[in-house]
Symmetry: C2
Subunit: 202 residues, 2 copies
Amino acid sequence: MATPTPTRQRRRGHDPESVLATAVGVFNERGYDGTSMEDLARALGVTKSAIYYHVPGKEQLLSRALDRALDGLFEMVADERASSGAAIERLEWVVRQSVRLLIDRLPYVTLLLRVRGNSGTELAALERRREFDRFISRLVTEAATEGSIRADVDPGLVTRLLFGSVNSITEWYQPARGASADDLADALLKMTFGGLRVDPAA
Amino acid sequence: MATPTPTRQRRRGHDPESVLATAVGVFNERGYDGTSMEDLARALGVTKSAIYYHVPGKEQLLSRALDRALDGLFEMVADERASSGAAIERLEWVVRQSVRLLIDRLPYVTLLLRVRGNSGTELAALERRREFDRFISRLVTEAATEGSIRADVDPGLVTRLLFGSVNSITEWYQPARGASADDLADALLKMTFGGLRVDPAA
């Protein structure tokens, strides 16, 4: 009986999830600071006057998008596999999961990595990132203490260089024709934990 | 006899080198596209009308700045130590030199890594970066062929993950209180070539 009006159909096409996904795409392309509500309206195909019906506000979208990446990191930290067992196994698992998360939520992680602290929302996101970094750094220290990774490199430096390699994936990964998340994680773990050099004695 | 006028003194304070250094600082802070000639005038402490006396044009400054980073990379490629000897030694030397170059020309390399191809100048810079990447990728292949690095990871992937770690240094390095270029290079080479894992049999 109640046939939806075209307006309703259009609005239905923009559930919160698809609005968020579209907005994150625009933020990554134009930069968050360079994105106007008008840009978001254009990307969503709605009029300038209708945009506030769909979008609560730019900063709220940013906050939700950053949480999408950060919540993934902290679910990982809270997982059984990150908290029990040998530190080296936990560390390798966390690195592998980080690569998977990055590929799975690529636009959200890309956005997170570009945050520089220009607003309250960005500062809060940076603080959560630092908390994650401290978790990794402690794990590296534990692995060195248990004697399963080399102890002659500063754990903070290892954390940064290791995640520098992980995070760089956002710079060049192309979902349509790239390697799978597991192929990437394998290559990264082989290089950073196994090492590139082949033992000439082996 | 000819005492310089205050204007002359001010102009002398802005030799091409210091203009370039100031401009690169502003580009990195505000983003190249977000920087106006007025921003550059303010940073140089000259009036809006005097800026064209000091600055040939925004894109020329960008071009010079990117060359400062890229020329460094290609001087390295042309060096004897990058072209003769075992591939593994050449590869390690190039990685170490890349870290040194990055620290030595930090703002220039930072700018280069942010280039996305928005103009002819940026596209040319990206093409030179890709040429450098191909050089590294060939070196990784040679090292795998000579049997000195593991052959079970794609050379293109190794190149990206390895330089992902190198390039990430621009994200967090603080010249005033950071490790030296050689400390950083040591940590990076130990992790990526030696591997983090300690052989339990050793």
